[in-house]
Amino acid sequence: MQNDSTTKTELDQNRAPIYEALERFRQMRVVPFDVPGHKRGRGNPELAAFLGQQCVGVDVNSMKPLDNLCHPISVIRDAERLAAAAFGAANAFLMVGGTTSSVQSMVLTACKRGDEIILPRNVHRSVINALVLCGAVPVYVNPEVDQRLGISLGMKREQVQKAIREHPGAVAVLVNNPTYYGVCSDLRAIVRMAHEAGMLCLADEAHGTHFYFGDGLPVSAMQAGADMAAVSMHKSGGSLTQSSLLLTGPGVHAGYVRQIINLTQTTSGSYLLMSSLDISRRNLALRGREVFRQVVAMAEYARGEINAVGGYYAFGRELINGNAVFDFDTTKLSVHTLDIGLAGIEVYDILRDEYDIQIEFGDIGNILAYLSMGDRSQEVERLVSALAEIRRRYHTDGTGLLSQEYIDPEVVTSPQQAFYADKISLPLRQAEGRVCSEFVMCYPPGIPILAPGERVTGEILDYIEYAKSKGCSMTGPEDPDILRLNVLK
């Protein structure tokens, strides 16, 4: 598993090299004639008062004692080795541009212009953005759909096999591990199929950091033998927003990955983000199993309580069917709401506006409450009680509610060609039949309804209008009100 460099060093997960270097640096009281210009906050007292001296004092630049993210040779390299060991990867890269940057680096490493990449259509926008950047062509595997819940599931093994057979020249297979809702495909089998066909297997683990530290949780990408994984440490891992990890297996050349990362990554990597990754990795390595055992227990308790309210369906492991739902992430608290007569997005809005409870997202038929290491039982009781109240106050028979349908996309041209092609802006309804040059999605979850290069159909337009009418926050197009769409000339 481990490459030469990691086996040479004694890896002690109690250490946090970046954090320790920053503590030493603080003691040195170095006089700053370098950037950042706020000079430990002195030049911006209002910011220092708001964020705290402790915080602005370590917002510093790369320098010898603190290493350099673009070319790590000391404390950052050590932190990356510790992260690699903790996650069972050959190499780990600290990322400061969000998991978006991890996903893009993964795709850009695997694909060149014109290469085919096999992926499910319910990927995050960052994946298709990466295709716009590099010019690779998507081969979509239609995910299975749960008709009752209206959610996209994982990819069936046969579907992946079929895509591989029909596109033997594809360079990689990308898998959500898990989806936003916690659904996992049979990752081990997909890795095997990809490798047999000479393809890489990439995993978007934006919602799966805890898989590396959980008992009874789905298999992690590195354990399943995948080649690369984008891991959102700032989600279930507990680090600061925008910090992330890119993990690679033994079959991927680390030096090349570093070059790819440096194509788009800032040369002023934030030490706030990097130290948060370092400290969070230490916490996960030392206490992760216990922490996630508690998160699972809390989520299972909440699921039981919400299902006892009646009307709601908080789904869990019973969805597992050995293929399109090969496994389920029990830390995810997703609740189907249509049976109380409210769209998920409506419950999401009521929770925030009337109960001061902010959940992760609501879509047409479901809500997702994100549970993590920071939650306590008293807040879970509030959430469950608020859902009970919403049912009591707003319950209807649900006529006129649509379930979410998976709409099979027709890919006409590559995302890159469509994005850069000559285009015109048309009123939404007049765009029917044309090829879209931009994204349309509800955010969150950020899974495109339309991606560049796809045919605009009447069904898709109906869906967009319905989602808008229910109050979904729609993003993507140039026109912020989504009254017009850019399509190819």
Binding site: E379, E381, S385, A386, A388
Partner: protein, 284 residues
């Protein structure tokens, strides 16, 4: 030797009580529990450093939170009490023969244990046959109840700690649902004097107004609470706290009280102008 217990009522105001000795101190799963012996106030119970009660002035709080609803609604038989692990509220309620059931939901068993030992004057009726104690999260307990109680008394800590959930819209909603069609909910509503407390009072009053058709606030003078000035909320599905006060019926019970009287009952709902303004602001 001088030993003083101080509580900050705001970051710039503190209230200090001279202490003779500390009788009890324990960190429970939820909070730090302390009991002191003091020359002026007798025994003092503090949770997370906030005075919950003193032997000297607890009667004011416990009488006002119980006798006001009991004197309005003649049919109160089934009662739910939230918090109040010291037993003072239960002690007052058990004085009414018509009460058949008192369910006490307290999250922290340590509070009850400590009060049984060191505050027997409050805890003395916790073993009454009508009283059943549930050590549970109140939201979890109440959301399973529908039209079960005539009265719910919410005797919580302040809204900035583990009791935060008892000041929320979802909590008031499930209480409404747990009450019978003529039920009443009475809660401690904090103090309107210092800005921080006043804002919390307004927030919770707004939520109650949005939940119950009748919602009124009444006041009492409690020396050891912030500003010595305390509010209670009276929320009801049917009974008006003053118009439906049955003076004769209450007097016929011959209950001896030290603070509450039916005359004071009426007066307690007459509020100062600044407070009326504050309440109106959120009622609109």
């Amino acid at each position: 030797m001088e030993l003083w217990f101080s509580e900050f009522h705001t970051p710039d105001v503190k209230h200090s009580i001279r202490v003779e000795r500390q009788l009890y101190s324990k960190q429970s799963d939820y909070q730090r529990i302390d009991i002191f012996e003091s020359p002026e106030f007798g025994r003092v119970l503090a949770l997370d450093g906030n005075v919950m009660l003193t032997e000297r002035d607890e009667f004011i709080y416990d009488e006002m939170i119980t006798h006001v609803p009991m004197a309005v609604h003649p049919g109160i038989r089934d009662i739910l009490v939230i918090g109040a692990g010291d037993g003072g509220v239960v002690r007052e309620l058990t004085r009414y023969d018509r009460v058949q059931r008192i369910d006490l939901v307290e999250m922290d068993p340590q509070v009850v244990e400590a009060c049984r030992i060191f505050l027997p004057g409050n805890a003395c009726r916790l073993d009454d046959a009508r009283v059943k104690i549930y050590f549970e999260n109140a939201l979890r307990f109440i959301r399973r109840c529908e039209a079960e109680y005539d009265l719910i008394i919410v005797d919580s800590n302040d809204p900035f700690g583990p009791s935060e959930g008892l000041f929320t819209r979802e909590f008031y909603g499930i209480c409404y649902n747990a009450l019978r069609e003529d039920g009443i909910m009475v809660n401690q509503q904090g103090s309107p004097f210092y800005a921080h407390d006043a804002e919390a009072m307004q927030r919770s009053h707004k939520r109650i107004v949005n939940t119950f058709p009748i919602s009124r606030v009444y006041q009492a003078h409690i020396p050891t609470y912030a500003a010595g000035y305390w509010l209670f909320g009276f929320a009801s599905k049917k009974y008006h706290p003053v118009d439906d006060l049955n003076v004769e019926a209450w007097r016929a019970l011959n209950l001896r009280t030290r603070y509450y009287t039916p005359r004071l009952h009426v007066g307690a709902f007459a509020l100062p102008a600044f407070l009326e303004d504050m309440l109106q602001e959120v009622e609109e």
